[in-house]
């Protein structure tokens, strides 16, 4: 099949709007009589709320309402019902909302916060998941075992709300046969997404019992569901509207501020209420990411075959964990990395900690577990005296091998072996450069794989509206948050309908009242899921064109041909436009109906993993790749200079090479940052985040980027994907940290197992001879 539009680097269809500043975001929305909210947040990481007095705040002119825990419904949660829109009885992280004020403007609301008196009884708190499972650790949810949980959640008590198991082969026998066993513990710290756009929601509870909410969410239909659960409003009367959003990275998926804003709106019926977070609040009052402690042990034969792997991982998940449950799953599904492991035992625990809730963050459990796997395999290769490339190639999940959850790798699963070979060839093509006496040069690589962790029956629907001029409007529930999805969807629409790309326009606002259903824009699954829906919708639209034309030409639909924008029957020709709104007879009477294509895609054959073994067809697809890094360490300062980055990824067919490359690089950049500099620092005294700002939460800049970047593709078409495409947005995050750390190890001989590896840590290790 030759493709006309898929595979071309079209310019983004949202480019002009965004570069000229005319694109609208939620914070741009202003409504008559709009009120403003501010949130009082807990200064303690763990405390009992003894009393709250809002009397003085309510007296302040301009204050409409002050809500506290007693005024809001709950508990709610899709996986674990463990949270309230405002804290009740106790707080479980510093930053947790305790009260909220709605006032005539932000200034008054902020002033009113100072007049709310809260009496706390501070409790011991715990930040690190390892500490949270230790004997005597403070318990966050005393009543956990009685909570309502989804069927796939298995609370263990104390602070453990989930235990995900993977079992394969005979682990004891595997280790018995091993000639070499390597062990290690890794810590991927708590980090933040640092989206450019702060979280914002504006909601109105209408006097007729309906709710309208504008929000910066990646998941309007999840928000709609949540409002339905909290307030018992029918789904058909909940309108969640999402324009463009300014970066999500998972931190705007599921729900964040929306439950609270819905309660505030309900408290002032008829009025719009807006909550716009400050940068500081984004760090303490929305979801964080990572926070994974892993303890791995790998057994190998002297020939360099992996014989056994045992992993115990703990995901620090915050004071309420709803959406961390599926990250635990991700850490299990991908817990081997892209390697064949015949004997496997993985235990992943989800653990409550006194931090803001941990949610999705680009990578979703995969970078967390690739970190120990790739670090330890590097160590094993060196101990065996084997070339790390050759060693990897021996163990990678080539076609025909079986992955950790029992799926047999098929041709279309992707070619991680080829990715690794290409990276290795490029990375080692010449001897290490000489960068002077003070610079230690090192090279490292890591292979990776990622699956979207989705509901088994994940759904995507689209409509293709045919306009009277023959142009087509794609209506989707998918969110454009900078990733370029509307461009890719337009390309696939043009391909499926065989019309020019310019003739396709994509609705740039999602509205749960009218947009077709889309699970949420996460898991790098939009190209795959929504793309599949587009193909179905295009077929549906073309069938309707043929049916209409058949009526006009008084023949059967099968006799009609579609040629470009023409509908042809023998020598008779109509344009799509002639049929778009229905064909009229010469006497003016209508003959056919307006035309809209519908496409409804649901993933089929994806199963829940077996609760005892984790085995099953639980991963819809895998995107795989390999990354190589060449860097230099300044031994006088510990500073890291990135020289070369090489990445080959097999994400099936690439729809838009330029944007795909940018997505991969963007993902890698986020992890260059978390590998070398990012970490949230919690006060030892109070458990508060000390660096909840961009002065002291450092993310890398353009100056920190590698001098040379090569990102390329291996394109093995994915059978389940539209035109062979599958996800690519997150995957760059998965192998980057261990690749950098493997390169640092190559340069210095120092094994780092905790992130971030700052210049200071390198310096101290170099001097300390660690």
């Amino acid at each position: 099949m030759t493709l006309k539009h898929v595979g071309k680097s079209y310019t983004r269809n949202d480019g002009v709007e965004k570069t000229t500043g005319s694109a609208k975001y939620v914070a741009d929305m202003k409504f008559p009589g709009m009120l403003h909210a501010k949130v009082l947040r807990s200064p303690y990481a763990h405390a009992i709320i003894k009393s709250i007095d809002t009397t003085e705040a309510l007296k302040l002119p301009g204050v409409f309402v002050v809500l506290t825990g007693k005024d809001v419904p709950g508990p709610f949660g899709v996986a674990v019902a463990d949270q309230y829109p405002l804290a009740k009885y106790k707080v479980r992280y510093a930053g947790e909302p305790v009260a909220a004020v709605v006032a005539v403007n932000e200034r008054v609301a902020k002033e009113a916060l100072k007049h709310i008196k809260v009496e706390y009884e501070p409790l011991p708190f715990v930040i690190h998941p390892k500490d949270a499972v230790a004997d005597g650790a403070p318990i966050l949810h005393e009543d956990l075992m009685n909570y309502n949980v989804a069927p796939y959640v298995y609370p263990q008590g104390k602070n453990i709300y989930q235990h995900f198991k993977v079992r394969k082969g005979d682990i004891e026998e595997g280790f018995e046969k091993a000639d070499l066993v390597v062990e290690g513990e890794t810590w991927y710290p708590y980090i933040h997404h640092v989206q450019l756009e702060p979280h914002c929601a504006v909601a109105q509870y209408n006097l007729d019992g309906t709710m309208t909410m504008y929000s910066t969410t990646q998941a309007p239909f999840v928000v709609q569901n949540c409002i339905n659960m909290l307030h018992d409003i029918p789904l058909s009367k909940i309108q969640v509207i999402v324009p463009y959003i300014g970066g999500g990275f998972g931190g705007k998926s599921d729900v964040t501020i929306e439950p609270l804003v819905s309660c505030l709106a309900k408290a002032v019926p008829g009025r719009f209420v807006r909550l716009l977070l400050t940068r500081e609040e984004m760090f303490i009052g929305t979801n964080l990411g990572r926070g994974a402690y892993c303890k791995y042990k790998i057994g190998l034969s002297k020939e360099g075959k992996i014989l056994a792997m045992q992993g115990e991982s703990y995901l620090g998940s915050g004071g309420n964990v709803d959406y961390a449950v599926n990250i635990v799953t991700g850490m299990g599904l991908a817990g081997t990395g892209p390697y064949e492991v015949p004997n496997l035992k993985l235990d992943v625990y989800g653990v409550y900690t006194n931090t803001p809730p941990i949610g999705a963050l680009r990578g979703y459990g995969h970078p967390e577990v690739h970190f120990p796997v790739e670090r330890l395999l590097e160590k094993a290769a060196r101990k065996l005296g084997m070339d790390p490339v050759e060693f990897r190639l021996k163990n990678l999940l080539a076609e025909g091998k079986v992955n950790g959850i029992g799926q047999v790798v098929k041709h279309d699963t992707g070619n991680v072996v080829l990715c690794a070979e290409k990276v290795a060839k490029e990375l080692y093509k010449s001897p290490k450069p000489n960068k002077g006496d003070n610079i230690l040069v090192g090279r490292g690589m890591a292979a990776y794989m990622k699956t979207p962790c989705m509901p088994t029956n994940v759904q995507s629907s689209v409509f293709l509206k045919l306009n009277a001029d023959g142009s087509v409007t794609l209506a989707t529930g998918a969110i454009e948050m900078g990733q370029g999805t509307y461009t890719v969807l337009a390309q696939m629409t043009a391909e499926a309908l065989d019309i020019p790309y310019e003739k396709v326009n994509v609705t740039n606002t999602v509205d749960t009242l009218i947009s077709p259903y889309e699970w949420q824009t996460v898991a790098s699954h939009t190209t795959w899921g929504t793309g599949n829906a587009i193909i179905l919708a295009a077929e549906n639209l073309k069938a309707k064109l043929k049916e209409s034309a058949a009526k006009v030409f008084n023949t059967d639909a099968e006799n009609i041909k579609i040629e470009g924008d023409k509908v042809v029957y023998n020598d008779k020709v109509l344009t799509w436009g002639d049929l778009a709104l229905g064909y009229k007879n010469p006497d003016g009477s209508a003959l056919t109906e307006p035309i809209m294509g519908e496409g409804h895609f649901v993933a089929k054959g994806v199963q829940n993993p077996d609760p005892e073994t984790g085995q099953g067809n639980a991963a819809a697809d895998w995107t795989q790749g390999c990354i190589g890094i060449e860097l230099g360490i300044d031994k006088t300062t510990g500073e890291v200079h990135l020289y070369r980055l090489i990445n080959y990824i097999d994400a099936g067919t690439i729809v838009n090479p330029q944007m795909a490359r940018d997505q991969v690089l963007g993902a890698i950049t986020m992890v260059i940052s978390s590998a070398l500099t990012e970490t949230l620092v919690f006060s030892e005294d109070t458990g508060k985040i000390r660096n909840n700002n961009l002065v002291d939460y450092k993310i890398v800049g353009i100056e920190d980027m590698p001098e040379e970047i090569l990102i390329d593709f291996v394109q093995t078409p994915e059978e389940s994907g539209p035109y062979g495409a599958k996800g690519i947005g997150e995957h760059g995050t998965v192998g980057t940290a261990p690749a950098i750390l493997n390169a640092i190890y190559d340069a210095t001989g120092i094994d780092f197992y905790e992130l971030p590896v700052t210049a200071e840590k390198i310096m101290m290790a170099l001097e300390g001879g660690e």
């Binding site: 200034r107 006088t636 300062t637 200079h641 070398l676 002291d696 993310i699 100056e703 920190d704």
Partner: protein, 289 residues
Amino acid sequence: MIPNVEYLKPKNLQEALELMEREGSVALAGGTDVIVNMRDERLLPKALIDIKGLEELKGIKEVPEGVWIGALELVQDAVENPLTKQYTAFIEGAGSIGCLEIRYRATIGGNICNGSPSADSLPGLLLYDAKAVIASKEGERTVSLESFLLGPGKVDLKKGELLKAVILPKAKEGSASKYYRRTRVKGMDLSSVSVAVYAENLGIEGKSDIRIALGAVMPTVARARKGEAVLYGQKLTDELLDEAIDALMEDVNPRKGSLRATPEYKKKMVRVLIKKAISEIKGGVSCEA
């Protein structure tokens, strides 16, 4: 959102100085620190006196004592001005403040008066014994810039006073200087530690004058005079340099609990960066950075 504040914009210096007499007045220049501090409620002025329009505080010109830099001079303009070209450590330091957009907004006077122990414009100015010209209704007074810096966030400005200018004494023929800093990322960041070194007749016995200024390791940016004294007039050897650094370390006492670097790392970097700067000035090959 910044707290409510009275905003006043005087037309000339005289008017400004009168407004500065009022209790709780704070001068607003580029606003890159003042507005940020107000937003965080670390600074709660009664009135903001917007001095941006004061021509008397602008310009860079040659004066008999050296180069006069108006307090309101934009950082980037000061960095690019031909008259500051020979003050390498100053332009390298000031040129590392924030990012280009910030440097086109922030002023030299603002960077000084914010009193940050890590201010990047200051080490280079102190090397050259820069002076601060302070204006009040009573007239002007001139003090050494180093003595103008009193502590973290504190400078020697009394009620009713404004920093009018700094004067950089003439740079001596054959002198050279260099500024190095360490930051957590190469992108925009505050200095974790900074070092400026000036040298004249470097290592020539009887004539050698090596000056060192340090940032982010003491309550203010300051000269490392104990180290300078060891080096003064001496032939420069590795041993002597280490001795000088050991001597200046007596005054280096970075605070604990910084989110930017530990005291141990800062101290190590003081040594490394001083050596690097001297090696650079000597024309030796230094490491890549």
